[in-house]
């Protein structure tokens, strides 16, 4: 045990000496949380729109007033020449052009019906659809006012509640995602690269021929990263609670336990990569392409898994980060207990055991 402590001290010294890398390791989650928490939002608001008002009567003015009062729209331009529309879209000055035809109010009064044309820059389909819907809502609202100036006869009131995430902030999706990503980065990439570096420099051989059990050598390499990762988890949680005001709704102990399980999964993968590769660049490439990319792709925090083609959906099941992401989301945001996530936990544990067995097997082959 004493010798193990000596090894551990050496490994810690290595990790702590590279200040630039350490700064990034601890800085990365902080910056990410701040960006996700305060900068990114899925809500479509303040969209720039342009108006072509060929009628310029009471009705159109009322509608334009309503549009500009809405926080969804910023009316940036009023176009008189319809031919300008293309250039407005091309210069990116408007996402939507709303066209009122001539004699709008008159038609509405006499024919009981009038047309409003909405042209959307649909290069981003979601923004286009959402904005069109918003315009529609404004028009329906105005119509409601026209039809029943005195009493809201036969009207339906819809009460809409946004559960969990009333401001539609990205945070709720992203905090669990950032946790998965950062742990993956620290554990897989750092562990793999640092072990392979020792292999490249030849110092690994020296350690392996020492009278010390080779397996313990590997474990002592992993322990500092385990500690770093736990610190990272704690700092992410502190930030999300005190800076983002996103409380941990479920059990903190459960969340920590699940996180440690995931950290161990990642460390095992890191060790596996380091056993299999012999150059830093290859180890980096495999960690980046083989682990980071699938984590970003398939964990479900940036890309909706249900929209993917079936083969990709199946692949997503073997990505450990996916399960961890579901677990964190359930415990932290929905406040669910272990009984609701035992299945995911079991899968994660199974993946870990499988990776462990695989690295052990390869490790033994390497040594024999």
């Amino acid at each position: 045990m004493k010798r193990f402590a000596t090894f551990l001290r050496k490994e810690f010294a290595h990790v702590l000496r590279d200040r630039k890398t350490l700064l990034i390791l601890f800085g990365m989650p902080v910056v990410q949380i701040l960006i996700f928490g305060f900068a990114l939002t899925n809500e479509v608001s303040n969209a720039r729109i342009a108006i072509v008002d060929q009628s310029n009567d009471n009705a159109t003015r009322r509608i334009i007033e309503r549009l500009s009062a809405s926080r969804y729209f910023d009316i940036t331009e009023t176009i008189t020449d319809p031919h300008q529309m293309t250039s407005v879209f091309r210069s990116g000055n408007a996402k939507l052009v709303i066209v009122f035809p001539v004699q709008f109010e008159q038609r509405l009064a006499h024919d009981n019906t009038a047309e409003v044309q909405v042209l959307a820059d649909a290069s981003d389909p979601n923004v286009a659809t959402t904005l069109t819907n918003y315009v529609n809502a404004v028009l329906l609202d105005y119509q409601q006012e026209l039809s029943s100036p005195n009493a809201p006869a036969f009207s339906i009131k819809t009460e809409m509640r946004m559960l969990y995430n009333p401001q539609l902030k990205g945070v709720h999706n992203f905090v669990p995602g950032v946790m998965a990503l950062v742990l993956m980065l620290v554990c897989v990439m750092m562990t793999a690269v640092s072990i392979v570096r020792e292999k490249e420099m030849g110092t690994m051989e020296v350690l392996l021929v020492s009278p010390f059990q080779p397996l313990l050598v590997m474990i002592s390499k992993a322990v500092p990263y385990l500690i770093l990762s736990i610190i990272n988890v704690i700092s992410i949680l502190l930030l999300s609670v005190y800076v983002l005001h996103l409380p941990v709704n479920g059990s903190l102990a459960l969340l920590m336990a699940e996180s440690i399980l995931f950290i161990i999964t990642c460390l095992t993968i890191g060790i596996f990569i380091s056993v299999k590769t012999s150059s830093q660049q290859v180890a980096m490439l495999i960690s980046l392409m083989g682990m980071m990319l699938p984590t970003i792709l398939f964990s479900g925090f940036m890309f909706p898994i249900e929209n993917m083609p079936i083969p990709l959906q199946i692949i997503s099941n073997i990505v450990p980060a996916k399960w961890y992401y579901i677990i964190v989301k359930s415990v932290m945001i929905k406040g669910l207990g272990f009984s609701d996530i035992w299945k995911e936990t079991l899968i994660l544990a199974g993946l870990t055991l499988f990776m462990m067995a695989l690295s052990l097997k390869n490790f033994k082959i390497r040594l024999a």
Partner: protein, 372 residues
């Protein structure tokens, strides 16, 4: 100039002997452009709806059939209580719950307002946004139909209606992939250019060949140019491969001028490579360079507007995106490729990126020390 020729010859020989780099510039764009757009599909279809219909009246039935026939929603359950439906949200089975309370029809017909409750799982913001908006429009339309119905039977003059006709430009079929592909290609060019250039000088530091260069009378800006030009050429190759794949796999042909696109990429690459070279002059090991570059890339990509529009950002964040070169590329790619924007439309972006390029490369030359 002769020195640069020798430097270029050397770099190109090394690059074409390095399998890892070759794999990176050929395989990576292919694989990523084929898989990422499949994955990065935010198109919202099949919003899962759980319904609690406590009224079970003809009106509530009509509302439900309006909703299901709209094509946006998939009815996943028909529950007896809100709690039951809420459980479905917890387990991610449902995205939305619509509750029609008791006496909905009676209240509506009697002239009191009929009430509906909608609960949205807002963890997935995009889906919540769109799903909620769709549902709202359908309900309002349903309401109008009912009013027309009820009022006409009462022989009241019919009420005015505003018809909204909408048309979608530049992406008629609202295909999300068409939107994502140019953005993903931007990220690809950025990542490959940034990482390759960042790792290159550091690698020479690690293996010690930089010493041998430093004792020669080579000029600093010659050395940096000798590193810059090969990666600039590689970046253009990656971009061309990417454009080819976008055309073959997704049928995307730039609506704008191809030459304009290449000139912007040319300026942009100088900027990204300058950043990579600057980072590599600061680092001692490839591991460090890699992590620092990773850090920057992460922030740049998140703040580029690739996944979430920059319009909704608070002002300070919007200001930050203006200091992010990736933001300009993503924007220009979408403008020129999808909307056919012209030079005048992107001139401002081009000048800004050119200014970044000058600053970053000057810093790289300045910070590269032949002696310490």
């Amino acid at each position: 100039m002769r020195t640069i020729r020798f430097l270029l010859q050397k770099e190109f020989r090394q690059i074409f002997r390095n399998r890892v780099i070759l794999a990176m510039i050929v395989v990576m764009p292919t694989v990523q452009l084929l898989i990422l757009p499949l994955a990065a599909d935010y198109e919202v279809r099949n919003v899962n709806l759980a319904v609690v219909d406590r009224d079970r009246s003809p009106y509530s039935q009509k509302l439900l059939s309006d909703i299901t026939s709209s094509g946006y929603f998939r009815l996943v359950s028909y529950d007896d209580s809100y709690d039951e439906s809420y459980k479905r949200i917890e387990s991610d089975e449902a995205d939305l719950v619509l509750e029609v309370p008791d006496h909905f029809e009676r209240d509506l017909v009697s002239g009191d307002a009929g009430k509906l409750f909608v609960a949205v799982n807002a963890i997935n913001g995009t889906k919540a946004n769109l799903g909620g908006a769709y549902l709202n429009v359908i309900i309002q339309r349903f309401n109008r139909d009912i009013q027309v119905d009820l009022l006409q039977t009462g022989n009241v003059p019919s009420i005015p209606s505003i018809v909204l006709t909408s048309s979608n430009w530049f992406n008629v079929h609202l295909n999300y992939r068409i939107f994502m592909v140019p953005g993903i290609l931007s990220i690809l060019v950025t990542m490959i250019g940034g990482f390759l250039s960042a790792l290159n000088i550091v690698k020479e530091k690690e293996i010690g060949t930089i010493e041998q260069i430093n004792v020669t009378p080579i000029r600093k800006h010659h050395f940096i140019l000798g590193k810059l030009i090969p990666f600039w050429v590689l970046g253009n190759i990656v971009f061309s491969i990417g454009m080819l794949i976008s055309w073959l796999a997704y049928g995307i042909v730039p609506a704008g001028n191809l030459l304009l696109l290449y000139s912007f990429i040319g300026v942009y690459l100088l900027c990204v490579l300058g950043l990579g070279l600057l980072v590599s002059t600061f680092c001692d090991t490839q591991q460090q360079a890699m992590f620092i570059m990773f850090f920057f890339m992460m922030i740049f990509i998140l703040m580029s507007g690739l996944f979430t529009s920059t319009d909704g950002m608070p002002d300070w964040a919007k200001a930050l995106t203006r200091a992010n070169p990736v933001y300009y590329l993503v924007d220009v790619m979408r403008m020129v490729v999808l909307k056919g924007s012209r030079f005048a439309d992107i001139a401002g972006h081009m000048i800004t990126v050119a200014a970044f390029a000058v600053v970053l490369n000057s810093l790289a030359v300045f910070n590269y020390r032949k002696a310490n």
